[in-house]
């Protein structure tokens, strides 16, 4: 089975702290994604990456950055956390090309609270 693992299920941070959310997938997928999910707003794409060291902005990249140094790992970074970044963060991966369905495999999520 495909496994997408997020490093922390629950985090509590203070305003202004630097926050790292780590995600690792074990299926050699090319694409990796970070979403945030808030009540009433559904899932919104923050950043995605289709290859090592490549990244593309999603719909809401402001206040976030990402790093993809290895194919299996995609990190989301909050340089200076703010209270409006309190949310559930979901990492996903998928493979590309050919006749694949583009199926996204999600991790269990990281619930971040910024005080």
């Amino acid at each position: 089975d495909v496994k997408v693992t997020q490093s922390s299920r629950y985090l509590v941070k203070r305003t202004g702290e630097k926050v790292f959310l780590e995600c690792v997938q074990d299926m050699d997928h090319e694409n990796m994604f970070w979403y945030r999910q808030d009540p009433g707003l559904g899932l919104r794409l923050i950043y995605f990456s289709y290859d090592v060291k490549m990244k593309e902005k999603g719909d809401i990249p402001e206040g976030y950055s990402v790093s993809r140094e290895k194919k299996e790992r995609f990190s989301l970074i909050l340089e200076s956390a703010s209270t409006n970044q309190t949310s559930m963060y979901l990492c996903a991966s998928s493979t590309s090309g050919g006749s694949n369905t583009g199926e996204l495999f999600f991790g269990e999520g990281s619930r971040l609270t910024v005080l």
């Binding site: 694409n31 583009g102 199926e103 999520g109």
Partner: protein
């Protein structure tokens, strides 16, 4: 990117068939229609995908009319465990579905 519109919520009872319709008026030629299911405190999970006509798997059926401007997810004989949020997405196979846009989904509540 094609935008989708779904009902915010639906109620059903165990054993009934549930049909959730999604509209996607500006779907593009290369777009596929995909549905995901999400339980509380979990990431979404792929249910089914189609391009046109009808697709069926062990979990659901997907009906897509000829104009492809809408689609209907059909869940036969739902159970309490089908209570979840269901998302309809359209995505471009040529880009590897890299920018799938999730809407707010349809919250299905199945009662005894």
């Amino acid at each position: 990117l094609a935008k989708t519109t779904q009902p915010i919520s639906m109620d059903s009872y165990e054993g009934q068939e549930v049909n959730i319709t999604c509209s996607h008026n500006n779907i593009a030629t290369n777009d596929y229609i995909t549905w995901y299911q999400q339980f509380p405190s979990q990431g979404p999970r792929f249910i089914i995908q189609g391009y046109k006509t009808k697709v069926t798997n062990e979990v659901a059926s997907l009906f897509i009319p000829a104009d492809r401007k809408s689609s209907t997810l059909s869940l036969p004989r739902v159970s309490l465990s089908d209570t979840a949020v269901y998302y309809c997405l359209v995505g471009d196979s040529h880009t590897g579905f890299q920018k799938l846009v999730f809407g707010t989904g349809t919250r299905l509540l199945v009662s005894p």
